[in-house]
């Protein structure tokens, strides 16, 4: 036991003496959360659009005013002919062009029907779709105004309630996600170089010859980083709550425990990576290149997992971040307790044990 404590202490010294890395390990997650919390959103605001009004009548002008008044759009160009459309799309100046047909107003009066073409640059399909939807709803509202005095029978009116996030703030979705991704990457990266560094420096042999059991070496290596990562996690949660006003509807204590669990899972993954790598370079490249994109893309952080093709949905199950995001969102935004997230917690525990188990086994092999 004393040997173990001594070993852990050595690991602590390693870490705290490398001031530059330490600064990065703490400073960076904080900087990133702040940046992303404020900057990352997929709400559409002030999108640049252009108008091609071939009618130029009272009605079209009214509608254009409504659109200009919307916070979603910013009219930056008025074009006169259709042939200009291609050029402004190619230059990337606007995301959409609204084209009012000839005699728009007259058509509406005479035939009770008029069209507005919404030409969108659909290279970004999501943006294009959203723009279409917004324009459509602005037009529908205008239409309703016109039809105010006309009795339209039998209307089922949906009254929508947005649960957990009444104002549809994208921070609610992104901040837990950013938290998870950053914790995972920092933790896995920290430990992934820990073992390979010993290998490269040659001090690994000393450890192998020592009476420390393989199990103790592995745990000993993970331990100091738990401490560091917990500090990171606490700061991140505090930032989420106080700077971004993400509510914590559930138990803060439970959130804390689950965070520690997730941290241990990530650290264990890092250790596993380092037992599989021959050099520091390889270990780092795997944790960065190998973990980063899958974690961002498959964890449900940005893209909903249920919309992905089935094989990818299956693969997403092995990404620890996926489970933790469910847990964090559940506790913070839904206010649920351990009963609801038991399955996810159990999965994380299993993953941790698996990672540590394999690491110990690989380490043992070296002994033989």
């Amino acid at each position: 036991m004393k040997r173990f404590v001594g070993f852990v202490r050595k690991e602590f010294y390693h870490i705290f003496r490398d001031k530059r890395s330490l600064f990065i390990l703490f400073g960076m997650p904080i900087a990133q959360i702040l940046l992303f919390g404020f900057a990352i959103t997929n709400e559409i605001n002030n999108v640049d659009i252009a108008i091609l009004d071939q009618s130029n009548d009272v009605t079209s002008k009214e509608i254009i005013n409504k659109i200009a008044a919307s916070k979603h759009f910013s009219i930056v160009d008025i074009i006169q002919k259709e042939s200009s459309i291609e050029s402004i799309f190619k230059k990337g100046k606007v995301k959409a062009v609204l084209q009012f047909e000839n005699n728009f107003g007259n058509n509406l009066i005479k035939e009770k029907q008029a069209n507005v073409q919404v030409l969108t640059d659909a290279t970004d399909p999501n943006m294009a779709n959203t723009i279409s939807n917004y324009i459509s709803s602005i037009l529908k509202k205008y239409q309703q105004e016109l039809n105010k005095n006309i009795n339209i029978d039998y209307q089922i009116i949906p009254q929508s309630r947005m649960i957990y996030n009444a104002e549809l703030k994208s921070v609610y979705m992104f901040v837990p996600g950013v938290m998870t991704v950053i914790l995972m990457l920092v933790s896995a990266m920290m430990t992934s170089i820990s073992i390979t560094r010993e290998k490269e420096q040659g001090t690994m042999e000393i450890l192998l010859v020592s009476p420390l059991k393989p199990f103790q070496v592995i745990i000993g290596k993970v331990f100091p980083y738990i401490f560091l990562s917990v500090i990171n996690a606490v700061v991140i949660v505090l930032l989420s709550i106080f700077v971004f006003n993400v509510p914590v509807n559930g138990s803060l204590f439970l959130l804390g425990i689950e965070s520690v669990l997730f941290i241990i899972t990530s650290l264990a993954l890092g250790i596993l990576i380092s037992t599989l790598s021959a050099t520091q370079q390889t270990a780092m490249m795997i944790s960065l290149m190998g973990l980063m994109l899958p974690t961002i893309l498959l964890s449900g952080f940005i893209f909903p997992i249920s919309s992905m093709p089935l094989p990818l949905q299956v693969i997403s199950n092995i990404i620890p971040a996926k489970w933790f995001i469910i847990i964090v969102k559940g506790i913070m935004l839904k206010g649920i307790g351990i009963g609801y997230i038991f399955k996810e917690t159990a999965i994380l525990v299993l993953m941790t044990l698996l990672f540590i188990g394999i690491s110990v086994k690989k380490y043992k092999i070296r002994l033989e």
């Binding site: 890395s21 990337g92 029907q113 037009l139 009254q159 947005m162 009444a166 893209f303 992905m308």
Partner: protein, 373 residues
């Protein structure tokens, strides 16, 4: 000049001899491009949908049938009470539910209008917005149907006004998200590989001591740097090529523009990244530090590049920051050139900024590399 060739040759030999790294440099990016691009989609599908129907009338059943028929919704369960439905939402088994109150049909026929409760899990705000639109559309469509069934043709029937918006989707009629994401992910992969490799490379020589040996030789520092970075430049271009081929073959990504233009731009872009890697390695002593710093920048660059979330939606100060994000330029340009067929004049403003960035970055890097300390 020959000296540069000696260095280039050595670097290539070392890269290809590093058996552990080869799969990471070549196979991993390719795998990720092919597999992960399929994950990227904002389409909302498989919406888990439940309902409470205490009315059980033909109208309410008809409405539910609409949802069952819709490809967006999976009508999973009928709940006996709102409490049960709300519970299910807590558990995460449903994304949205409808609450049809008792006497619904009767009140509708009496008052000509009636409200229905729609409850949507809005943690993902934008998804909730989309779900709401879908639900509204289905209900709207149903409204028109029942109006036709139930209405007695009355004499005072007035034709309502109808303004329709006709969406036309340029460059991507099928709204295929992969078309949008694949070029972007390719940019990411090329950037990551070149930044990490170049950042670590010189630090590694520092760590093992061979850098000192080099500094004692009369080699000019710009020869050394060019020789060191050139192989990674080649790697980046090679990866781009492989990526473009895969994009075409597997994802059928359009390539409307001039590929030559893309290559020329990429060659300048990679210089920016290499310059960054070199700059980082001049200020770090260990590979670990170099990687951490590179990681810090890459994560910020990736998430702020307009790859996953639009730059236009960011607050003004963030948009200004993105001016310093090289990935932003490449992502935009590759999309413009490949998907829209933009030409040289179209991308000129972005390209010239990249060039300036390349000159600045490499200048800084070369200047900060000291053979004598």
């Amino acid at each position: 000049m020959n000296i540069i060739l000696y260095i280039i040759r050595k670097e290539f030999k070392q890269i290809f001899r590093n058996k552990g790294m080869l799969p990471i440099i070549f196979i991993l990016p390719v795998l990720q491009l092919v597999i992960l691009s399929n994950a990227a989609t904002y389409e909302i599908k498989n919406i888990q949908f439940g309902y409470v129907d205490t009315d059980n009338s033909s109208i309410s059943r008809g409405l539910i049938e609409q949802f069952e028929a819709s490809t967006y919704f999976n009508v999973s369960e009928r709940f006996s009470s709102e409490k049960e439905a709300s519970q299910a939402m807590q558990e995460g088994t449903i994304d949205a539910y409808l609450n049809i109150p008792v006497h619904f049909e009767r009140d509708l026929q009496k008052d000509k209008t009636n409200a229905i409760g729609v409850f949507i899990d809005a943690i993902d705000g934008s998804a909730a917005g989309v779900i709401n639109v879908y639900i509204t559309q289905i209900i709207q469509g149903y409204n028109n149907n029942i109006a036709m069934d139930l209405i007695q043709i009355s004499d005072t029937v007035q034709q309502p006004n109808s303004i329709d918006s006709i969406p036309l989707f340029w460059y991507n009629q099928t709204l295929n998200y992969k078309t949008f994401m694949v070029p972007g992910i390719l940019v990411l992969l090329v950037t990551m590989i070149t930044l990490f490799l170049s950042g670590m490379n010189i630090v590694r020589e520092k760590e093992i001591g061979t850098l000192e040996q080099i500094n004692v030789t009369p080699i000019k520092k710009h020869h050394f740097i060019i020789g060191k970075l050139f192989p990674f430049w080649m790697l980046g271009m090679g990866l781009l090529t492989i990526g473009l081929i895969l994009a075409k073959v597997i994802f059928n990504t359009p390539m409307l523009g001039n590929l030559g233009l893309l290559y020329v731009y990429t060659s300048v872009y990679i210089l920016v990244i290499l310059g960054m890697g070199l700059f980082i390695s001049n200020f770090t002593d260990t590979q670990q530090q170099a990687m951490f710093i590179a990681w810090f920048f890459i994560v910020i660059f990736i998430l702020m590049s307009g790859l996953f979330t639009p730059i236009e939606s960011m607050p003004k100060w963030a948009q200004i920051l993105t001016e310093f994000n090289p990935i932003k330029y490449f992502v935009e340009i590759i999309r413009m050139v490949m998907l829209k067929g933009s030409g040289f004049t179209d991308i000129f403003p972005l390209a010239i900024k990249t060039l300036a960035y390349a000159i600045l970055m490499n200048g800084l890097a070369v200047w900060s590399y000291k053979k004598t300390t």
